[in-house]
């Protein structure tokens, strides 16, 4: 965010997001950036200010977690409906009740149909790089972007991050431009009109091709960032998929734990597909990558009560489209920040390879009455 130097940053404290905005506030206070921070009285106003500032042609970044995202819900949908290129850091945290400040994905998964692009990040390095992509992607697609990371695990974990040269990054993110600014006084625009049965449908439909284009743009922008970072930014990362008999699909930091499990399982046919882009969901690409795998295990850090867990549902859709005839498993883990250990993932792989894995299972859940 220091390198991006956004014009406007509305912020409201919520654990575990607070670390981001506190650090950024010191940049503001010390004149390291010239962003205008708005210390709002709620997340609802954070998103409302973000909408107003973005519609006025400012580059806007905000951040939230859990209940904060839930409180801003209505305006999260307004932001995408108005096609505003806002970037929001989501530090994933469980939703209440019971209240819990630790990581799961129920917050961003609950917001998956609100019209935002969602990028998930394995570690702090990816959060940094995904944020740079998000800025460009939002502005190109005219869609808001959430950059998700695991609360505490990533947000408060201490790890080395390679920071790229300021000049290179500034050049990469470039100058913000927005075609329908409220501050273009020569061409007054009306944002957020009333649209009834005669127009609403068409306006909403336009978000469909916009999302489809965003998928292609993500790859293009990723390629450009790769020139600075030397890394590749696919829709997902693959590890050992080609020869694997069992592949785990998951999001965020658990991908790191899974990689460690795969290393320990040397010689066994275990692979990983770490999804980066969840919205738009790359059905075709995920389906292609997994169609030959005998056993696909989807690990969700969220529940969808009375329905399939969110990531599992999407992967199953992708495989169905491919005429998949292997086995697909759904595992739910880590709600409310419960740790998932390398050994547990090893066991999931072993059980799958030995045909002992249940179709629907939980990892680390104690027996409940």
């Amino acid at each position: 965010m220091r390198q991006i130097n956004p014009d406007v940053v509305p912020a409201f404290p919520i654990t575990p997001q607070t670390a981001i905005m506190q650090d950024f506030a010191t940049y503001v206070s010390n004149g390291v950036v010239d962003s205008e921070m708005i210390r709002v009285e709620s997340e609802h106003s954070a998103m409302s200010c973000a909408v107003g500032a973005s519609a006025a042609g400012a580059r806007v970044i905000t951040a939230t977690s859990s209940a904060g995202l839930a409180l801003m819900w209505e305006i999260v949908g307004v932001a995408s409906g108005l096609r505003l290129p806002i970037v929001m850091e989501i530090v994933n945290r469980a939703l209440s009740a019971p209240i819990n400040i630790h990581c799961d994905h129920s917050d961003s998964m609950g917001a998956r149909d609100l019209g935002w692009i969602q990028i998930y990040s394995e570690n702090a390095q990816e959060v940094y790089e995904n944020t740079l992509i998000a800025i460009r992607l939002a502005e190109k697609a005219l869609l808001p972007v959430m950059v998700c990371q695991d609360g505490f695990i990533t947000s408060h974990g201490v790890e080395n991050v390679e920071i790229f040269d300021d000049t290179d990054v500034k050049k990469f993110v470039g100058e913000h431009s927005y075609p329908y600014s409220l501050l273009n006084l020569k061409k007054p625009v009306t944002h957020g009109p009333l649209e009834l049965q005669d127009y609403y449908f068409e306006t909403r439909y336009q978000q469909v091709p916009a999302m489809e284009d965003a998928l292609k743009e993500y790859l293009k922008i990723g390629k450009e960032l790769g020139k600075i970072t030397g890394r590749k930014y696919g829709l997902f990362d693959e590890f050992n998929i080609k020869d694997a008999e069992a592949v785990i699909v998951c999001l965020n930091s658990t991908a790191g734990t899974t990689k460690a499990a795969i290393e320990r399982l040397k010689g066994k046919k275990a692979g990983l597909l770490k999804l980066r882009l969840f919205r738009p969901f790359p059905y075709k690409e995920v389906g292609e990558a997994l169609k030959k795998v005998k056993k696909v295990i989807v690990l969700d850090r969220a529940l969808s009560f009375g329905a399939n867990p969110p990531l599992y549902g999407e992967v199953k859709n992708a495989l169905f489209d491919m005429g998949y005839n292997g086995k697909i498993y759904s595992g739910v883990y880590g709600l409310g920040g419960r740790n998932i250990f390398i050994e547990e993932i090893e066991k999931v792989y072993n059980d799958a390879l030995n045909d002992e894995l249940k179709e629907h299972f939980y990892v680390g859940l104690r027996e409940c009455p």
Partner: protein, 306 residues
């Protein structure tokens, strides 16, 4: 400003005709007068409500100035975002003009659901004018009770019936709530006193920081009176001291209009269908209570204006 100057300024039509507000609706004249009270470029935000839905029916818009509607409860936070963007872009040299910011909301979007958003924006000191067109209920959704609905008024969610006689609580004294934010300017105005209204709007636009203008807006459907009586009823509210015209500049109260004679509040009440039930003999007490409340509020106001 005098009427001649106002008529001249209204020619610019920042809010164009052709919108679909009801015949006799009070807010178009209020909004036009306020928009005409500054010569600087304006950006407006508006809460969901009658004003927004009648002026922005896609693919048309009545707004000849930049306009944004986001939701019901966040008109103030939205304009705060626009105003902050303006400061950020001005600092970076991306905009050179001087721009003024105005937010509109009905009483529901101001007194109730938008209260937090407004309070936060005022406390943060954004350079904006917030205008509440107060028609005393949730009119857009069909005349439901708000905290601005007067005691005794019949609404669809607190209707007069055999046991209950309409709203059983007095209105929130919102101007004083605004004054408690220690902002530079708060004023109450009425559609019936147009020059007083534009003078207040002009003054508000000339002051830097957050300003709030509360304007009483009679509603033909909700208050149940013929459309040609709008101005008359607004005038009765002022003359009976039911709605007083005053301003508070840097905490200092000033009465801007003093009715020349005492007109009983029944003159105001009997002109409207929403108070009709109060004139049944058994409801005499309610009317007396309203008159007593008006009297004591007026006395308090006079003291504050000393």
């Amino acid at each position: 400003m005098n009427y001649k100057e106002l008529a001249e300024k209204l020619k610019e039509k920042k809010l164009a005709s052709g919108h679909r507000s009801c015949a006799g609706c009070g807010f178009p004249a209020i909004v036009r007068a306020i928009l005409a009270s500054t010569d600087k470029p304006l950006v407006a935000s508006c809460a969901t409500g009658c004003l927004e839905v009648t002026t922005t029916i896609y693919p048309f818009t009545s707004w000849n100035i930049p306009f944004i509607h986001s939701a019901f409860e966040n008109s103030a936070a939205t304009i705060a975002g626009v105003e902050t963007a303006f400061r950020a872009l001005k600092k970076k040299g991306k905009i050179t003009e001087d721009v003024q910011f105005v937010a509109f909301g009905g009483d529901g979007g101001t007194y109730d659901i938008g209260f937090q958003s407004l309070s936060g924006a005022l406390e943060r000191g954004h350079d904006m004018l917030y205008v509440c067109y107060d028609n005393n209920a949730y009119m857009n959704t069909g005349i439901q009770r708000s905290s601005a609905t007067p005691y005794g008024a019949s609404t669809t969610t607190a209707p007069a019936g055999k046991v209950h006689q309409g709203k059983e609580e007095f209105r929130k004294d919102f101007a004083k709530v605004m004054v408690a934010h220690n902002i530079p300017y708060v004023a109450q105005a009425s559609l019936s006193n147009m020059i007083d209204l534009t003078n207040k709007a002009q003054k508000a636009f000339s002051i830097k920081g957050p300003k709030v203008l509360l304007v009483l807006q009679p509603c033909t459907l909700g208050w149940r009176y013929p459309p040609d009586k709008t101005i008359e009823i607004a005038k009765l509210a002022v003359e009976t001291k039911f709605w007083s015209l005053y301003e508070v500049e840097n905490g200092k109260y000033k009465l801007t209009y003093k009715p020349s004679k005492d007109v009983p509040v029944t003159e105001y009440l009997k002109a409207q269908g929403r108070f009709k039930h109060l004139f049944k003999p058994e409801n005499k007490e309610i009317i007396e209570k309203i008159q007593a409340h008006v009297n004591s509020e007026w006395e308090k106001l006079l003291k504050l204006c000393e």
